[in-house]
């Protein structure tokens, strides 16, 4: 058969039409585009067995409950743990990206001495030498942990000082120490039973205390209601998130919180809005009005509004004694919906000794990077991440979130006593040591963190009080051994103590406290870690939701 030119053209046209009408080109196009989207340098999600574990967040002292999704042994997602009695399933925005911090480029992986490479042996030798030459100060950001006991006992043995640095939530409770003789760490705010909350600059909806606690209360009892069950009155100097969402917003001159508190207290006493419970403020109403920048009538109206829906509590953002005294006048100290004693005071050697007198200062990784000790001593700073320029002589790498065994005592502002354990879910990088492990190596007689945690579980069991909240609630009396209690807590359970007895707190305020400048906390209520998870750029840079935070990730 002779193949003609016409046959070639017919076959060619037929083949072309056939290919076009078949799925082949579309399949090739699809495969090509899939292929081009799977270049070897495009990261692939983790593979491996999936599991969900419960733990506690250790980035700040609030210790929110964590639900950790793991794939192939690595954490791939964090969410709040609904069974946690205080955080109630909420996390701060940065907590949702915190599992990435393990891999943060600023992760400290080796010992550094004044900017150069060094080793643990050299750091240990330098610290031992310093201990032999003079007293040692140890600074702790999350007091009350098992590691804190290690620090405290080490400092005591070496004639040193153990200093706990409190956040603004705890600092706001410090003025009551002198009037109630109860340490601030045993006091809490009973927000759940308050009907009116007057916040003097405390960012209640923006990073104050445990994120889920007040958010839940506000959402259920106040949000969008013209006459809410929970009245939030926010006093501030410039518009904040809390102010924009508050039931009422009061704008005052910067630094005049004490004057306004004095003015309100004077109206409360003069107008007999409260039974006489304390001394008359030194400022007159007109002086308070002049200093705060709002009229005397407005202060009077505010005082009447405050007591219209009781219990009422005032919350400061620092250790302002005038605001604490206002709570005394309001009868909020030792009463339901006010300042309550959540736990019994325990012996402690927390000191206010001057760090300038120390030969060496050890700063635990729980302290925010911004903290700079006022001292010329040799500074040994433990940290999981390098937060930028630092005054420390030694930078010592520690395990990060989810890598270390630590216990989490009661959150700073909580009204109920809690105890949780964050068990390590992934192995820390080689060459990292926590400050407690470092001290235990130097003083082999010191009890390790594991042993202290076991002893605390044993103590809780012997106390026969409280309940362990996990997927189900179990009274401590139904738990047979300390080992079982510890196991439950290591698996994400939270021990919750008995509700506070408000009447057990007695307050004795003889004179209205002298006005003095407020002392801001060394720990802000904003996120305190030295670096942010990369996903934080969604908040700070890829949107205009929050203002960039200077001095972080620099």
């Amino acid at each position: 058969m002779k193949v003609t030119r016409r046959d070639w053209l017919v076959w060619g046209a037929g083949a072309t039409a056939g290919v076009v009408l078949s799925p082949v080109p579309w399949k090739l196009l699809g495969d090509t585009s899939i292929w081009t989207q799977n270049w070897p340098w495009i990261p692939q999600p983790a593979r491996g067995p999936l599991e969900v574990k419960a733990s506690a967040c250790t980035l700040c002292p609030n210790g929110c409950g964590l639900r950790v999704r793991m794939a192939g042994g690595w954490p791939v997602g964090l969410a709040g743990l609904r069974s946690h009695p205080v955080s109630q399933g909420a996390l701060c925005p940065l907590g949702f990206g915190a599992h990435q911090l393990i891999w943060h480029p600023a992760r400290l992986r080796a010992v550094r001495h004044r900017g150069g490479a060094s080793s643990w042996d050299e750091a240990r030798a330098a610290f031992v030498k310093a201990c032999s030459e003079g007293p040692v100060g140890i600074v702790d950001g999350f007091p009350g942990r098992a590691a804190s006991s290690v620090f405290e006992s080490f400092a005591q043995k070496r004639n040193g000082a153990y200093r706990a640095v409190l956040g603004p939530e705890s600092q706001a409770l410090t003025p009551y120490e002198a009037w109630t003789r109860v340490p601030a760490r045993n006091l809490g705010f009973d927000l759940e039973n308050a009907r009116t909350i007057v916040s003097f600059g405390a960012p209640l909806l923006d990073g104050w205390g445990t994120p889920g606690r007040f958010s839940h209360l506000w959402a259920e009892r106040a949000a969008g209601q013209s006459d809410p069950q929970l009245r939030l009155i926010h006093v501030e100097t410039s518009l904040s998130t809390t102010g924009s969402r508050a039931w009422r917003r009061i704008v005052i001159r910067p630094g005049s919180e004490a004057a306004l508190a004095s003015g309100i207290a004077r109206v409360l006493i003069e107008d007999k809005l409260v039974p006489a419970r304390g001394p008359m403020p030194l400022l007159t109403l007109s002086q308070a009005a002049e200093q705060s920048g709002i009229s005397a009538d407005a202060i009077r109206e505010l005082a009447h509004t405050m007591v219209a829906s009781q219990p009422v509590i005032a919350i400061a953002n620092d250790d302002n004694p005038a605001i604490a005294a206002l709570n005394v006048i309001l009868g909020a100290v030792g009463s339901r919906g006010g300042i309550v004693q959540r736990s019994k005071p325990k012996h402690s050697t927390i000191s206010t000794a001057d760090l300038r007198d120390m030969r060496a200062v050890l700063i635990d990784s729980s302290m925010p990077w911004e903290f700079v000790p006022e001292t010329r001593a040799e500074v040994f700073r433990f940290a999981a991440w390098d937060g930028g320029p630092t005054r420390a002589d030694w930078l010592l790498p520690t395990p990060a979130l989810l890598e270390d065994l630590t216990d989490m005592p009661t959150a700073p502002a909580s009204a109920i006593e809690t105890y949780a354990i964050a068990a390590p879910l992934v192995a820390p990088p080689t060459g990292t040591l926590s400050a407690a492990q470092f001290l235990a190596e130097i003083d082999p007689a010191a009890a390790p963190v594991e042993k202290i945690i076991r002893a605390r579980c044993d103590e809780l069991l012997r106390g026969r009080a409280g309940t362990v909240h996990a997927q189900e609630s179990t009274p401590v009396t139904n738990i047979a051994t300390a080992e079982k209690l510890e196991e439950q807590l290591r698996n994400g359970g939270v021990w919750v103590g008995e509700p506070p007895r408000a009447a057990a707190l007695r307050c004795d305020l003889k004179e209205w406290p002298a006005e003095r400048p407020s002392k801001p906390s060394a720990r802000s209520s904003a996120w305190a870690a030295p670096v942010l998870p990369p996903l934080a750029t969604k908040l700070y840079e890829e949107s205009n939701l929050l203002q960039p935070v200077p001095r972080r990730n620099s």
Binding site: P43, Q44, W74, G80, G97, I102, H216, K538, L539, E542
Partner: protein, 246 residues
């Protein structure tokens, strides 16, 4: 039975904390690149701050989480896509974006009245080792394609797999909750099946306080908002002559 998944976002409850934004990015393996800005970043869930325009004590602010509105009627992105890379899933009502088909023309971004679509300007990248923290079940999208919220479709797949494993055709609603809904500390974002009249979220869409963004253009979004504040509702409708963006 086909579902119509949607949301009701109570703006009176939103505190603008941003948890939904970070949880969304974490769940969906959205990269966080140092060169990204508020114009070039990927924020499938974006919380915007709005105000009533006053500058004195009467100034009020609110926060509006913006995500794909899952338009039901004449979905603008579907009609303009030359690649059929966008379609409304008949079974769920979710507006699906298929990055494998997308050629990056960005017509859909122009067409979207809600600015809820984002372009991948760069290859996705994470610091060394951090790829181990990526969420399994969600493929990483590459440079040159458009992406948006798909109501955490990976979670829907997981719920469907779980239901299939148990021999059921319908998923348990508790198994399918998008990351932003799970993360919201005030319960402002609620998720449900709008086709089910018994679903509380579906019932909430009939509340007199419920509204949809730019309702007048008739795209019938399946994301509803709620607020008692008249100035918020006026701004949402695009008729807020007396209010300004904060």
């Amino acid at each position: 039975m086909s579902a119509r998944y949607g949301m009701v976002i109570d703006l009176d409850r939103c505190t603008g904390c941003g948890s939904c934004m970070v949880a969304c990015a974490s769940e969906n393996n959205v990269p966080s690149l140092p060169q990204a800005s508020d114009r070039t970043g990927l924020t499938p869930m974006l919380v915007r701050r709005i105000s009533n325009g006053k500058q004195d004590e009467s100034r009020r602010e609110a926060f509006v989480p913006i995500l794909c509105m899952q338009c039901e009627h004449e979905t603008p992105c579907v009609s303009v896509c030359p690649q059929q890379a966008v379609e409304v899933d008949k079974a769920t009502g979710i507006v699906m974006q298929m990055p494998q088909r997308c050629l990056g023309c960005r017509y859909c971004m122009t067409a979207c009245p809600y600015h809820a679509r984002y372009f991948n300007w760069w290859d996705p990248a994470w610091p060394a080792g951090m790829e181990k923290s990526l969420s399994p079940g969600v493929a990483v999208r590459m440079r040159g394609v458009v992406e948006k919220c798909n109501l955490c479709h990976g979670r829907l797949h997981s719920a469907q797999e779980k239901a299939a494993g148990a021999g059921k055709r319908e998923i348990d609603p508790a198994d399918y909750v998008p990351a932003c809904v799970e993360a919201c500390p005030t319960g402002a974002i609620r998720f449900g099946n709008l086709a089910d009249d018994n679903d509380p979220v579906s019932q909430e869409t009939h509340s007199p306080e419920a509204f949809r963004l730019l309702a007048r253009i008739g795209t019938e979004p399946k994301v509803f908002y709620k607020s008692k504040e008249p100035w918020v509702r006026a701004l949402a409708d695009g008729s807020g002559a007396e209010v300004k963006r904060g």
